[in-house]
């Protein structure tokens, strides 16, 4: 539980907007100048994921959650920063060197329709990674393994010759197959990029329970990306709240839901619709979400924060460990301007 599995330090990712070389030239103030526009998706993320825990990353659309997942999995190269897997640096490896870590880290995707190849049967989908990563396996060993996998995610082995679109169970069955595929190489870390958001609410719970069962069985660690706070409350060990490419609060589930500290977290939590309480008035955030095309100066949340002062506009707050074990990046809390 306490061994750090994945350590991320100062991770940054900048996308260059894709313009042709002619489109980069701008006519401004009487002369041509060349400029590219950038999108800063991640601005220095520090995160540690411990063995056997579920770290939920929450935040609004466009705050860099999915980019974080893709950079960790090596689907996109980071612009700066380091990613370590059990104290081995993995972010600069090429495809061949990364192969060992591909087996250890897997990913479950958001859309159960797009994440399975429509031209491959369930058997093909599962057998390909198994025989690819275990070249010495015989055919019967592969078959045995597939049967075992399908059984473990609750799909009968007899349906292994079906194509994904032939499952009448639709989304749920497909997401189970996705999970089976991720588990097929026996990873110990799974990144789940909003695996529930494309599912019906009735199906979400089943898939979530399946994921929790697998975690118990195999001592998996999850990085679970979501914007559904109800899922977080049910599932998370720790929660990281992201805003505009930065982590602004990181704490255990109980602490976060019991006493949220960062102004953004407070606003986020107050927006959960609840049946049982009518006390809290939702905190309204004023202002627009800034577009991440310019690298933010100061605190990322300054434009919408009701407690922002001059210092927030000038310098970016660091993560500070609080007395109850959570860490928060906020000048106002550091200075005690904010009571909570």
């Amino acid at each position: 539980m306490t061994t750090p599995l994945i350590q991320i330090r100062g991770l940054e990712k900048t996308f260059t907007t894709n313009e042709s070389w002619l489109g980069q030239w701008r006519f401004r103030r009487g002369k041509f100048s060349k400029q590219k526009s950038h999108v800063h998706a991640l601005n220095g993320v520090d995160l540690t994921i411990y063995q056997g825990e579920t770290l939920c990353v929450v935040g609004e659309t466009g705050c860099g959650k999915s980019t974080l997942a893709r950079v960790i999995m090596g689907l996109a190269a980071p612009s700066a920063g380091e990613i370590d897997y059990l104290a081995e640096r993995i972010d600069h490896l090429n495809d061949r060197q990364r192969m060992f870590f591909r087996r250890r880290m897997q990913m479950v995707f958001q859309n159960p329709y797009a994440s399975l190849n429509p031209r491959m049967t369930v058997y093909q989908t599962l057998s390909e990674p198994i025989s690819f990563h275990n070249p010495l396996f015989t055919q019967s060993q592969v078959d045995e393994k597939i049967e075992e996998l399908l059984e473990s995610v609750g799909i009968s082995a007899s349906s292994s010759n079906r194509y994904p679109h032939e499952f009448s169970g639709g989304q749920r069955q497909r997401q189970r197959i996705s999970l089976a595929r991720a588990l097929s190489v026996e990873p110990d870390f799974i990144v789940a990029d909003e695996p529930l958001s494309a599912l019906d609410v009735s199906v979400q719970a089943q898939v979530l329970n399946l994921m929790m069962d697998k975690q118990e069985e195999r001592n998996l660690s999850y990085l679970f990306i979501t914007h559904d706070l109800a899922v977080v409350e049910h599932f998370a060990t720790r929660v990281a709240v992201m805003y505009l490419g930065r982590i602004c609060e990181l704490s255990s589930r109980e602490t976060l839901f019991g006493s949220p500290k960062h102004p953004y977290t407070q606003a986020l939590l107050s927006a959960i619709p609840r049946l049982d309480s009518n006390t809290a008035e939702p905190i309204r955030l004023i202002g627009e979400v800034p577009t991440p095309t310019e690298k933010p100066v100061g605190c990322v949340f300054q434009a919408r924060c009701p407690y922002a002062n001059q210092r927030c506009y000038e310098s970016s707050p660091a993560m500070v460990l609080q007395t109850d074990g959570s860490s928060v990046a906020c000048h106002a809390i550091e200075e005690g301007r904010l009571w909570k």
Binding site: D95, M99, A114, N117, E128, H133, E166
Partner: protein, 312 residues
């Protein structure tokens, strides 16, 4: 409990082939086109058995029999469709010509497809500079008329190596020329579908598994882009046969000792106004029916595989 589900499953197992098959049965025009195409293929395959004369026989060409009209005019039942200017039985020559034309068409399109699919996949999947370079090559290739490229190449070859060598390798050279000049059509179509498929999460999933680009391109993306390939494939065969016929008509195709349909038409054209119309018209009709059937099939496939109608 979970396994009970499978009992109430409705297996809607329609794979692409059975989908196409059930569709083709319902469409009379498509059935007709398919039957005609199958007939042509059969005839081409069995030409040596079906032909009433042996084309390799020395007596096959006999000037005494030259320009005999079809049997329904002359009632000379030795030659069902008459004979050409060299006294060859027209039916036998047409059978062999069809065989040649179809072989050239299909082989040329196979070359086109192989080249086009590989280039299109690489350009679409790898993107960036490679994509730019390959697509500009395709643009350059497309900006020349295929006919012009073929004519220039064949003329140069004939003058460099002489007619004798050319006639020996005429078929292979024709296949190569027609095959190499039309790959951009395939490449562009494949690239467009690959660009769309690349966004799908299953490609990311394959990358996360650590599969190499080659495996992802050919095993994962290619099967999902097969519908447009199938359509172009059919129509391109017709185009290749037309191209071969046109080249032969211009005297750059098959030699008259081993005539394809185009070469026959070209030869017969000279006798058109001397009254021997059948030498030109009969091969033309054969060619036109073949092309029409291929085009009908291609059109029907395109309509039927339209993603708006057909999904998964």
């Amino acid at each position: 409990m979970k396994h009970l589900k499978k009992d109430i499953l409705h297996p809607i197992s329609d794979t692409r082939m059975s989908h196409i098959w059930s569709g083709i049965i319902g469409d009379k025009l498509a059935v007709l086109a398919l039957i005609i195409f199958a007939f042509y293929c059969l005839v081409a395959l069995l030409a040596p058995l079906l032909a009433p004369f042996d084309v390799n026989d020395v007596h096959f060409m006999d000037l005494l029999n030259a320009e005999i009209a079809p049997s329904w005019i002359t009632h000379d039942y030795r030659f069902l469709l008459g004979t050409d200017a060299q006294g060859r039985d027209l039916l036998s020559v047409i059978l062999y010509g069809t065989r040649l034309s179809l072989t050239i068409g299909i082989c040329a399109v196979l070359i086109q497809a192989t080249l086009g699919i590989c280039i299109g996949l690489v350009a679409g999947y790898l993107g960036g500079r490679i994509d730019n370079f390959l697509m500009r090559c395709a643009d350059i290739q497309l900006s020349f008329s295929n006919m012009m490229v073929a004519i220039v190449f064949l003329a140069i070859f004939q003058s460099l190596f002489g007619m004798a060598l050319y006639q020996q390798f005429a078929m292979i050279i024709l296949i190569l020329v027609i095959g190499l000049s039309e790959w951009p059509l395939f490449a562009r179509t494949i690239r467009a579908s690959v660009l769309a498929e690349k966004q799908q999460e299953y490609v990311d999933a394959a990358r996360v598994m650590g599969f190499g680009s080659k495996r992802i391109m050919f095993r994962h993306i290619l099967p999902n882009t097969l519908s447009p390939i199938l359509v172009i494939f059919t129509i391109q065969i017709a185009n290749a046969i037309i191209a071969e016929a046109a080249l032969s008509f211009l005297g750059l195709g098959m030699p008259s000792s081993e005539p394809s349909l185009g070469a026959l038409i070209s030869e017969g054209f000279a006798y058109m106004f001397s009254g021997s119309w059948w030498i030109c018209v009969l091969p033309s009709v054969t060619l036109i029916i073949l092309i029409l059937a291929m085009n009908l099939l291609g059109d029907w496939l395109r309509d039927h595989l339209n993603p708006k109608v057909y999904k998964d």
